[in-house]
């Protein structure tokens, strides 16, 4: 039943990430994106099925966990970091240039509301 638990975790992480990405302040969007990266990484990771206590190192056990999603996620983590970093710096630069931290750069006077 570990699968059920894992799906709930992924669902909650996704929902929290999406909710924060829809906020109007850059900081919330950054956290949302980070959270969504966790969710997506876990999602890809579990696509090979859950295996407990068996790595993907040859000769250590009879059954191996699926190495392919792990390889995908490993690079995804690093690329995700690069993307988050870029977004963070972009937000800092936007604040410095525009004087506010609204995602539209207009101090929250757009049609949409702000958080």
């Amino acid at each position: 039943m570990m699968e059920l638990l894992m799906s709930i975790v992924i669902g909650v992480l996704t929902a929290c990430g999406v909710l924060m990405m829809l906020r109007a302040r850059t900081f919330a969007v950054m956290l949302g994106l980070t959270m969504l990266s966790y969710a997506v990484n876990l999602f890809i990771f579990v696509s090979g099925g859950l295996t407990a206590g068996k790595g993907a190192v040859l000769g250590r056990s009879d059954i191996y966990s699926d190495p392919l999603p792990q390889a995908l996620v490993l690079t995804a983590i690093v690329i995700g970091f690069a993307m988050t970093a870029f977004l963070v710096i972009l937000a800092i630069r936007a604040r410095a240039d525009l004087g506010n931290d609204h995602v539209d750069g207009n101090s929250g006077k757009s049609q949409e509301d702000s958080a």
Binding site: T14, F27, L31, N41, V78, A85, I92, V103
Partner: protein, 931 residues
Amino acid sequence: MTLFWILLMPLFGCLMALAARQWSRSYQALVVALFPALALALLVPLIPDVLAGEVIRYGFAWLPLLGLNFSLQLDGLSLLFTLLILGIGLLVILYARYYLSTRDSMPRFYAFLLLFMLAMLGIVLSGNLLQMWFFWELTSISSFLLISYWSHQPDARKGARMALTVTAAGGLALLAGILLIGQILGSYELSEILPQTAKLQQHAAYPVVLLLVLLGAFTKSAQFPFHFWLPNAMAAPTPVSAYLHSATMVKAGIFLLARLYPLLSGTDLWFLTVTLTGLSTLLVGAYFALFQHDIKGLLAYSTISHLGLITLLLGLDTDLAAVAAIFHIINHAIFKASLFMTAGIIDHETGSRDMRKINGLWGFMPVTATLAMVASASMAGVPLLNGFLSKEMFFTQTIHQGVLGSLSWLIPVLATVAAIFAVAYSARFIHDVFFNGQPIGLTKTPHEPPRYMRVPMEILVALCVLVGVFPELMIGSLLQQAAVAVLAAPPPAYSLAIWHGLNVPLLMSVVALIGGILLYINRKALFMFQAGFNETKAIYRFEAFIQRLVRRCRNSIEQIENGSFQRYILLLLLALLALAGAPLLELQQLRGQRAALPFDGLVIVGAILLIVAAVATVMVVRQRLLALVMISVVGLMVSLAFVRFSAPDLALTQLSVEVVTVVLLMLALYFLPHKSVKQSSSGHLVRDFTLASAIGVVVGSLAYAMMTNDSASISSYFLQNAKSGGGGTNVVNVILVDFRGFDTLGEITVLGIAALGILKLLTGIPRFMASADGEGRLWSKDRHPLLLAVISQALLPLALIVSVYIFFRGHNLPGGGFVAGLITAVAMILQYVAKGVDWVKPRLKVEYSTLIAIGILLATVTGLASWLFDRPFLTSWFDYFDVPLIGQIELASAIAFDLGVYFTVVGASLLILANLGKITTRYRPVHKEPS
């Protein structure tokens, strides 16, 4: 190969025109004319072979996967057009030398003209449809440039835009048609598709193909109802009109019809569409030509009419109709080009093109008048001139066809009506311009043009007469071979004689001549009638239409793209929800067959912690520091999840990235407002919450379905081959550096680019720094904490050793370049945190951007090295060696690749953080050491 050079000559000429801009005008014209002349000289030796029925080909593979070859072919039809393009082109170059005033830029004109010539030659010499289309579009573009040559005139700009819009739109339709032909017949090579007539015509998509191709041809050849751009293109300099709008470009559409004649013609759809379009164009053009007051306007409508005549011929179902069409292409090009040149001379010498002002020029320029009279007699179809011969052939064909069934008799009748109008407007051109009283209100006194300006006209008019009197001798064999190319078979016997005896076509000619003269004499009534129409000019309607279109597009774009980032995200997420949710609706049951793992107390606790932390992050998102703490808990729990579910590599990576990310976000907090000001309205919150929950449910369900269902995976391949093929037992690492090494190379490149982008964003950042934090407290002026400084310094060598260890064991045990790089980066960042940028910088003289470059270069070179051994890019090598004392060790080229990954990761992480940190230091109140 000669063909290739012929095609290239205009290109050289185009460049030469630009290079020779300092020379005198005559030399410029001479040097430009040299290239088409050279092309002609290259062409001449090929002519006997082509006339003997040979098809000369040249080509090489260009993009063979797309079916796009560079392929040239010269058959009878191509030869005919090539001669027209080069021959008339040469005459136009000479003519333009005298036509253009000293204020006009000659290099620009000649460059555009030669560019156009290149495009035209490209069309007629192409042996590949896609390639032909490329040149087809090039003619549209170069004609746009030529029409708008006098860009200071609004008429020229508008006319050019209209011509481009209409012909380019047709060009797109043609491209669609060509692509369909390629799909159906499996090739774009003319030599391969032309024999497959039956296959194409039996295909269900044939009507679509035909209509698309016809759209392309009709827009280009100004067929009704797309004819309106041609009169408006008369704003172009007259040499351009003589060249593009009578002899060449408008014939491109006709050429296409002739080129694809064997493939597309022969069906009822073809006969009906082409015949009716040609017939209506013939009538519309002839009728409106009579009422134009602008000489060039008259010639433009007459051109439309003659293009309609040729199209009509191509649509008739008689054997000789195609031959007549080709014959008329030649004749029309010759007499119409000379008439346009007349118009240019008149414009040049009188300063006006209005036939209500220009009268009685016979007294001022008798030679030009004589030449013009011969040419327009040819246009009217007077015997002993070339126009008469093809018109007779045309009449003969209209009598023998049966395209419209029992209504087929209408075609010869309407053809005669059009011919009556043709005689009338030809008569008007002569009578109104050269006789009919004296000039009214001209600014210049007209006189004969410079001697050499008249030479091109003289040559063309001489051709009119020579072809008219000795047709067989002049063009007999050329016509024969062109007909062979169009019909893809030898045409039935025909005679080019002047006299065929007393027959119906001759009667039709006589009726047309007499009727036309009578019509012209009684024109007053018709002019009154025509003046009764309150017609707006096509150009205004067209402009209004375009402006309406632009306005609507702008409005609808503003509707969708309103500048709100939140809205874009919302729309994207909605789309995602629909795409990801739809398959779930079709799935009967989420739970699959795979055996489930049992619950485990520790995992439950971890999951609850994770969920609580995630929810808490959302709750406290406005207290930013607290939110940051919460999200780091989430990250930690995710790393633990990787540990628990057998992914040690991932856990190591996630843990190190977590540290770097949190440090980064802390630094970001320093620059951003420390508190959020406003709250979302409840309505928006409910909406966002609903959407977020829906996506969470869908993604969670998908994950559950994925985990519980067995699926075929390619992973077993990697498990089986990791040791034997990649020389490592850590399959994850072997996949990264070996099996999917190319992906990894791409990813570290992205990492490097992101880091450099960040560097760029941070340089020159305006100073925007709060002097206090959110609660109004000033920044701490404490020194860097001593304890942390000491411990971090002690930790550094240890951490470096660990990262080296992790790096080397990576191939066989959890670890590798990514993890090792991150550990090194974390250890370094700790130094920055503990002692500040100012302390670290002088002690660590490493340029991080260089480090990134070294890393990517190392990985690439490792990949390239396999080429030295004739292996594909990134093939890895490994072997085992016995080293005394240490024992057996393994050396693998993947280690070098992984080292590249290591350098890039270290460089990128430190570049980002150190530079951001540096800015905080620069603006912070400087701390002074107590002395």
